[in-house]
Assembly symmetry: C2
Homo-oligomer: 384 residues x 2
């Protein structure tokens, strides 16, 4: 056991301060923290851009995954045309950081939120999805009263059963209603994001599901074209389907988010033949706070790791996660497990990156084993 | 459809501002939000205090459940002796709000954190749990260098398999090590919090599990007494077992947290004969953002509701939760479901209150259908 006596210089003055500072060694990072492997992230960002550019498809990475303007700026520097957000509040945070082209890839409802979207359009190029007349009337009125123009994408349900209209007739009716609010609303095309297909592990089954949804999408595009509505933008494509969507010749842009960080869930989605393997760039970092013959306890639990897609995976040889409770993760050793002591720190791969990032205020950017930077999770908690 | 034109006065200037203000009607609260039913919470707080006072047992409610100094102050005004926290950072937040008696009911490891605990003891009465010599050396050195006294509780594993030592000999060895750091560390007793027993739904099975663990606890207390270590404090008792623990004659204090707010998980834990039924006081509040023949979509998902103990339950007649994704909850109607329109707002009971509260920055305090106050979730994100 090594004691650091007279360690007052180590004291973080306020727990809201970052748990690390540039130049620190990995072992000095306070826990539970979120580590970002900068090499792995740079690799993922460059590779996705290279492939999507090769397809001739615009890349608009999703900011809901990382909630970090620092990452968004790197994605845009690499060639992305802008970003996606799911919430007006997220979009405000990214716009505050100088991101000028944002698609809110979601339905926004209510006078407060539509007014905020309209105000946002005074300082950034804003797109918004709709699947309902109520929303169009609300955003149309807000855009008019703010004197702005907002790009509107009609969302299609191509088999996932969440948001979106299902038929060409419904899409056409909404496009006509959007046109009624010209020039403040501008019909720019369709969003067809196949939620369910993203997480189909088998690439053949995933390809088949995506191919089936393409037929539906083609029908809607044709019906709109016949009525004089050109779909200049057709957007979709998460990390699980963006290679299929980009290869379709139908999509003009894709909006993957998780590829930059990766998690256990998406690592189980086998790549299609031409798609690269992404590197894990996001890790939880915890301290062994209690140690017993049968198990060890880590100092982060359900408030540090989202478990909706399964528990995190500990990266210490021979140890497996048994359970998580609010502030603890219990890990158990196999016969050949590497030693652990109280105070040791271990890395864990999150089960699902998006809601895990949303639990943390900071991303500790690691270059090898040295802290390169600390980035705020600026849009953490941006629910509105 | 009603449009609120010229609604600029409704705009929340910064998304970090609260989504409601005192005096507002429920329907005006922006979503997704967390509502606190003040009548139900007052009822739960008064009832728990009344019962524990009748048992002659001290009540030290757990702050990890609500992370709200406002709620903690009400619990103390009702008769609680102080609060519990799980983290040094949580304790700092509650101490900043004037809470003077805090038990950190968890093992704290590392020079940074133990120095912070010692510094905290300069301005509040602090207790801390240990189950390992390393921790005792670290907190002992920190308490000495800060010139403070910290109450130390040796944690026992009474069958739950998380933190805590298992045998009288181990407990005694740790008590002796604590004594080595007198007067800066003061051995004050034991923590025996039965994690697993809290959530056993059947009261008979739960009583049996608790009774079995009491034998182990008695043995340790006797062994310590024989060696001259008096357990002035024996603490445990979450919402699921506090009536059993309080009735045992062994425990001197209990530390329930969820009872004040309640959730689906604890509502399924049937009360023992003498225990009251708690009222649900915590509710998610969401807007219908998308509506279809087969389903509706709410504007809060995995980033608004923790699902480790199951999904939230929607409180609109005839509707059930089907799935949650990051920003959406899909709900489906039964044959006799009440009507819903885009823009309607609905309440949901969370599956698990603690990690759900930790996703939000504000508690909207409702008295009936009017906003009475807005309280910050001050220790939200206090992981350290």
């Amino acid at each position: 056991m090594s004691l650091t006596l007279g360690a007052n210089s180590l004291i973080v003055q306020d727990w809201r301060s970052p748990p690390a500072a540039p130049g620190m060694a990995l072992e000095e990072v306070d826990t539970p923290a979120l580590l970002l492997d900068a090499d792995a992230m740079d690799h993922n960002i460059a590779l996705m851009q290279e492939h999507m550019s090769r397809f001739g498809v615009a890349l608009r990475p999703h900011g809901k995954a990382h909630k970090s303007p620092d990452i968004a700026h790197r994605q845009i520097q690499a060639g992305a045309i802008g970003i996606c957000c799911q919430k007006a509040s997220e979009a405000e945070e990214f716009a505050d950081a100088g991101i000028e082209n944002i698609l809110i890839s979601n339905e926004v409802v209510g006078a407060i939120k539509t007014a905020r979207v309209a105000r946002l359009a005074q300082r950034a190029h804003i797109g918004l999805c709709v699947d309902n007349a109520v929303q169009i009337h609300q955003i149309g009125a807000a855009a008019r009263s703010h004197g702005v123009t907002i790009d509107i994408l009609v969302e299609l349900d191509i088999g996932h059963g969440r948001c979106g209209v299902g038929s060409p007739d419904e899409a056409l009716a909404l496009a006509r209603l959007v046109a009624h609010y010209a020039p403040n609303l501008h019909f720019s095309g369709l969003q067809a994001y196949n939620v369910a297909a993203q997480h189909i592990g088998d690439p053949v089954a995933r390809s088949r599901t995506v191919a089936a949804s393409m037929e539906r999408l083609r029908d809607v595009i044709a019906a709109l074209a016949e009525a004089g509505f050109e779909c200049r933008t057709v957007t979709g494509g998460g990390t699980g389907t963006c290679f299929l969507d980009a290869a379709s010749g139908i999509y003009t842009e894709v909006q993957p988010g998780s590829y930059a960080l990766m998690d256990i869930d998406y690592a189980a989605v086998a790549p299609t033949s031409d798609a690269p393997s992404w590197r894990h760039a996001l890790f939880g970092y915890c301290t062994v706070s209690s140690l017993h013959n049968t198990h060890a306890v880590l100092d982060g639990g359900l408030k540090a790791f989202a478990v909706d897609s399964g528990p995190p995976r500990v990266q210490h040889p021979g140890w497996n996660v048994k359970t998580l409770s609010d502030e603890h993760t219990v890990i158990v050793p196999q016969a050949d497990a590497a030693a652990l002591s109280v105070g040791d720190k271990v890395r864990l791969i999150p089960g699902h990156c998006d809601p895990t990032v949303n639990l943390h205020d900071w991303l500790i950017v690691m270059r090898g084993n040295v802290v390169e930077d600390v980035w705020p999770v600026a849009a953490r908690g941006a629910l509105f």
